[in-house]
Amino acid sequence: MLNSEAKLNPKVFDLDVEQVPIRKGFGEGLLAAGEIDERVVGLCADLTESTQMHLFKNRFPNRFVEIGVAEQNLATVASGMAAMGKIPFITSYATFSPGRNWEQIRTTICFNDRPVKIAGSHAGISVGPDGGTHQAVEDIALTRVIPNMVVISPCDAIEAKKATLAMAKTKEPTYIRLAREKTPVITTEATPFEIGKAQIFYNCDGKPEVGIIATGALVHKALVAARQLENEGVKVKVLNLATIKPIDTETIISIARESGAIVSVEEHQVNGGMGSAVAEVLVKNCPVPQEFIGVQDKFGQSGLPAELLKHYGMEVEDIVKAVKEVIRRK
């Protein structure tokens, strides 16, 4: 059952559950952060509406910089602005930022320790028809490997808004991962959010047989899988791992100890992604079998999001199968 403490959307399992793009929550969060703190500035690489920065731009035209199609400049100009006391948010598609400008992010933002906030939109293969060039499935790996960087992957628009407000208040370089398509609203205004804290979204009576650790829009698929498994008599818990770095070691170890088996669920390459980050924690502290739901070392392609999620093995049925497999391996 849903964890009542998380105060989730009671309609989360309804067919007509409200659907909002995660990036929209970012846009609203940035606008709100701009109202709160005048040091917040916005920079965009010719994708202002697409990344939802237009809300900020329209409200604060003098605190917005149009960089053009130049992602390396996007990162380095932001570093310079941060050096003068600004809190710059930079947006583009995740394949371009932190993709194309990775070294500039490493050197001029993280190594230089400047509080630049990087929003990568169109993450995951469910970007759909645009095809593989525009589907970022490497960005978690790219960002979490850099020292000083914080990495956040919100599960819905409401969480994205809270995360954006929270990251505007911190000194650390931070990456937030956003999805393009509308996805179900899982949380509510009342759901607690704190950078670095993972939260149980789905509970069971007594000891779980498997802990599902999910991030981003696929948290919804994980919840649907958990309910289906519960109906079949398989007890699982679902953990929403919104902050991938710094990772919530304590909560991850606790769910692994309880369940003795883990399934990680992410719309990202399994190599180096959230599941890998979880495995790094578990191998050291509480080694248990783990199955990895995600992209299996392949590039994306054109298609409808649902077709692609099915093709690449990230649907509800894939999660259910992985849970049963990991139980067998216990």
Binding site: V41, Q72, N73, V77, G80, A83, N112
Partner: protein, 292 residues
Amino acid sequence: MDNLDDDKIKFLEQKANLIRQTIIEALIEAKSGHTAGPLGMADIFTLLFFHVLRHDPQNPLWEDRDRLVLSNGHICPVLYATMAYAGYVSVDEFKQTLRKFGTKFQGHPHREFFPALENSSGPLGSGLSQTVGMALADRMDSGRSSQRFFFCLMSDGEMNAGNTWEGAMLAGKEKLHNIIAVADRNNIQIDGFTEDIMPLEPLADKWRAWNWHVIEANGHDFEDMNNAIHEAKAVFEKPSMIIAHTIPGKGVAEFERKFEWHGKPPNKEEGERALKELRSLGGKIKGGYHQD
């Protein structure tokens, strides 16, 4: 800004000579590092830190200071040595610890170890854009009458990198007149002469095409460089690029104009010969090394 009188020029010449000696001493001790670029830029750094910049070594983070961004981080020995003589840090500490474990004076500038630096750098092509970001933020806060100037010291080789031109384009678009970029036009990079590796000429025309005000100057002539900076400060509505023609390895005949000296330090003997040459002002002083 003051014009330079003869006394001040003499003072700067002596200071630049000391800075060159100190760079050589530090490189001998470090046993690695870059020689040609730091020696070639010693006159320009001396002029900036001892005549041009509004700064306070006792209060390095003074808000109203001019900013100096070093884009081509590998020439940092000249930045460190000049900052040391300006009073930011100890000259001896620099000579003894350059590139050693735990030092402020990392092989390439790292702000975490030396917070008085404006930026960390090394990977080429990114400094100009950081300078543009600083000037943009300053304009948001202080408007177009800001008293601050933003200097970016960069190399010619790093103009191979697209990031340089991305920054140039934005500075032109935003008419950031208080940016003064100084390019070390020494015509060498690691693999050879710049015009063989990836031709940059017509370089001044390129910058003009990005809506920059371009000035060419002799990077070893204090008066010429000072006048160029004067002119750059007077230009409104455009950022300025000073193409400073320099001789790599300047001051030591053995190192001058040789790209082989881009990325290696002198060994003990080469270093001692260089020091003798500098201390004797190229043989002008009796007992000096040079016999010619």
